[in-house]
């Protein structure tokens, strides 16, 4: 337990320091959200209708942008070799690294979403809906991405390959996230139907991804 807390704090520290990339995701999120109205035009009805979808796409890309470094940085400097010799099971190490990554990348996105939603003229229930769906949906993106990150840990420039590997598996999360966010603003589908499925996807990813990622890391030590 002490080892896991130490690992979590180390990851937070690394993300906060210069070059750690802790703010990359949220800045990228801001860039996408702020240029969208320029491209789409100042039609508030249109923006407010597609706003939740834009926020979700931005969140997905912002999560993936730094995720390739999740294990690669440790693989490059030899830290990963030492983590293999620790008594802590590799699966738990993966879980803690994912949680720390989510706390430094996903959580800021969730906190920024209400503000950025206002920039896209999303209001009231829609704003609450998109924030709630991002809160329960972004952990799934991190966990699914961790599998890709583990598979490409030993590759130089593995980021693009990771995105190609991971994106198809994030599509269900995107679909149900946007569906729930849209349902929050009214419509024929009740909010809880897609939202429950989104929760289930996150739980599934959290339960399965650590084993898959740890197996990929073990297989990759050559």
């Amino acid at each position: 337990m002490k080892a896991l807390i130490a690992l979590f704090l180390r990851e937070l520290r690394l993300a906060a320091r210069i070059g750690g990339g802790g703010a990359t995701g949220v800045v990228f999120f801001l860039i996408l959200v702020s240029i969208a109205p320029f491209a789409l035009g100042p039609d508030l009805n249109l923006l407010s209708r597609i706003g939740p979808a834009l926020l979700w796409i931005s969140a997905l890309l912002a999560t993936l942008i730094g995720l390739d470094r999740l294990f690669q940085a440790d693989a490059e400097d030899g830290s990963l070799d030492l983590l293999f010799t620790a008594r802590t099971p590799l699966e738990l190490i993966v879980v803690v690294k994912c949680l720390a990554h989510w706390a430094t990348t996903g959580l800021p996105l969730v906190l920024a979403a209400p503000l950025f939603g206002l920039m896209l003229a999303v209001e009231g229930a829609g704003l609450a809906g998109v924030t709630a769906t991002l809160l329960v949906g972004t952990p799934a993106l991190t966990f699914i991405g961790a599998i890709g990150a583990a598979l490409t840990a030993s590759l130089r420039r593995g980021g693009l390959l990771m995105a190609i590997l991971v994106l198809p598996f994030t599509v269900p999360v995107l679909i149900f996230g946007v569906a729930a966010a849209a349902a929050a603003r009214g419509g024929t589908v009740p909010f809880w139907t897609p939202f429950s499925i989104l929760c289930a996807l996150t739980l599934l990813a959290a339960a399965g991804a650590p084993f898959a990622a740890a197996a990929a890391l073990r297989h990759g030590r050559d």
Partner: protein
Amino acid sequence: MPSPLRLIVDNLAIDRGGRRVLEAVGFAVAGGEALVVTGANGAGKSTLLAGLAGLLPLAEGRIGLDGADDPEAPVAEYCHYVGHREALKSALTPRESLAFWRDMLGAGRPGLEPEAALAEFDLAHAVDFPCGYLSAGQRRRASLARILVAPRPIWLLDEPVTALDVASQARFADLMRAHLAGGGLIVAATHAPIGLEAARALHLGQAA
């Protein structure tokens, strides 16, 4: 340590990239003994140490540890692996790095505090310097200090004295002798003599 440890390697073979790098390597090292592995570049010294540390799958053979507290635990959990890469993050200070590795690798056994371990390697003045600013030799010393904060009985050292100055090499030789005197094991791969006169030698030939 209740009973003397004994590291037994039997008929070890390791493949890398589809090619057999090590074949039919066997030796035994008991507590208090050191084994120095020599051989030409590419003879498989680093591969042997990484295999002992559990970082590479074994193609054949067996690595066993007699006298361990927990016979079920993998041998790697008793090992400190010092490889070519220092496992230091540029953004963290040596104190933070060592505190992390103490908690991660320590498993309850008391070791030195990070400051004391760094002082052993004459790095007391650099504890709060980000590792990115340290010289190659200082990084190597900070990395070696890791094995003092989390005591483990087996030291697997891959070219441990690279980039170290003469004084630091002598200091590290003293620490290795103290570790052996305390019942520890050392398996070191090296080209240069590292100050272990009593060490046994294992010469690896070119793999077929």
